[in-house]
Symmetry: C2
Subunit: 253 residues, 2 copies
């Protein structure tokens, strides 16, 4: 055995507000503080932690940014502990997607991958109720076919959300949502100039009908393949030709 020498750890200055954050976060994470419960008021916390109100406030700001608590001015009951949400996850993923110099190719690849798998899972795991939700969203799409495309795409989003929810996996829901959003951001201007949006919508509806049938029949593999091909057909023309190859492995053999 090595004669383990005395080891010193690098000293890290821990700011006062960080200690406050830490303690409150631990209380929430460990369940000693449940969603809906209230924290003491800032002035009370300042006494309990032995720090100034500024420090307490900075700590609360951090927790607020992390969706751990919520403060309302004037509420005598104090800051509220929030239930866990995917909002932060979504925001951080969005930031990452925009920062990582992601091209449309990468985003589309990821989306094909996710949505395909979502269908694969949904086809097996969906309940009748979720099936009905997809039906409703699809009906809404058909109804909005003639109207502006903002309503149409809202119905489209609702459809995909229903599919994602059917997988019972919040990760799939969030990631799908984010990637879809970023993809749309990247090409909405190009898409707006598309020659015939009406034709695109009709094609989209036809595709959704087909894929929904596959989901209803439990044919996951087929739904997966359909979705990926549809995405490719719809978006590939906007992907630089050199990068298009990275989408092909997902189209199956």
């Amino acid at each position: 055995m090595d004669p383990e020498p005395v080891r010193f750890e690098p000293v890290t200055t821990v700011r006062a507000y960080e200690r406050v954050v830490e303690q409150i976060e631990q209380a929430v994470l460990s369940g000693r503080l449940s969603p809906g419960e209230r924290l003491p008021s800032e002035r009370e916390l300042m006494a309990q932690f032995g720090v100034s109100r500024s420090t307490v406030r900075e700590a609360l700001r951090v927790l607020q940014a992390g969706e751990v608590i919520r403060s309302r001015a004037g509420d005598p009951r104090g800051p509220e502990v929030l239930p866990a949400s995917t909002a932060v996850l979504q925001k951080s993923m969005h930031r990452l997607a925009r920062a990582e110099e992601l091209g449309l190719a990468q985003l589309l690849q990821f989306r094909m991958l996710l949505e395909g798998s979502a269908y694969l899972l949904a086809a097996r795991l969906r309940t009748e109720e979720q099936l009905a939700q997809m039906d409703a969203a699809l009906a809404e799409m058909r109804a909005q076919l003639g109207r502006g495309d903002s309503e149409f795409s809202r119905a489209d989003v609702a459809f995909h959300d229903a599919v994602a929810r059917a997988t019972q996996n919040p990760l799939l829901v969030v990631c799908g949502e984010v990637v879809r959003g970023v993809v749309l951001e990247l090409i909405e201007d190009k898409l707006a100039h598309a020659a015939d949006r009406r034709a695109l919508m009709r094609k989209s509806v036809a595709h959704h009908i087909e894929v929904l049938r596959a989901v209803r029949d439990g044919e996951g593999e087929r739904a997966c393949r359909l979705a990926r091909h549809a995405l490719y057909d719809y978006y590939a023309e906007y992907v630089p030709e050199a990068e298009r190859a990275m989408l092909h492995p997902l189209l199956g053999s």
Copy 2:
């Protein structure tokens, strides 16, 4: 047409610090501020935004919590804009996992999905150099077979990273990394008590050899199937039986 009545939107009080956050965040997101660049000092910002220093500081705290910037006391150059990181993503996912919104089943499902697809893509897109990196990582795993399992799992991580990089998709790299981390966190204690870790390692090496061969031969589908089955075999026993069914659709027909 409906005689569209005048519509009023609910008034939302926007806090001063929120608007400061918003502006700085936008500057970073839009690229007007790049990683490594510096923000003006708090006193300077307070003049530019026309708010007090407390308000500026609360805004900076929020950005700091979101890993957008970093402040060091005394640094005359001011707060630094950070490159996008996965830390927040990881933390928020972790919190969701602890809040039981996310069980091992969901995480594992997502990981099976991601890693399978990663192999599928890597088998087609990998370069010789990336293949060599996987080889090296695998060799390291074999070398560490006898040693502590922290070295072993580090080599394991290196292998999976090499695979993810071969897909040329940063999203896949990041998500894979994060999910792998959270999964390990969730069961590391259970895994530590496993009867025979040595046997598990050997089995893991054997699996990696096989899957790497599939990648080298360009058999993406096979690599995908192998990886998912391996993950299932390795982890499924820790998943509540009732939720195990949600993993089965990914194991293929």
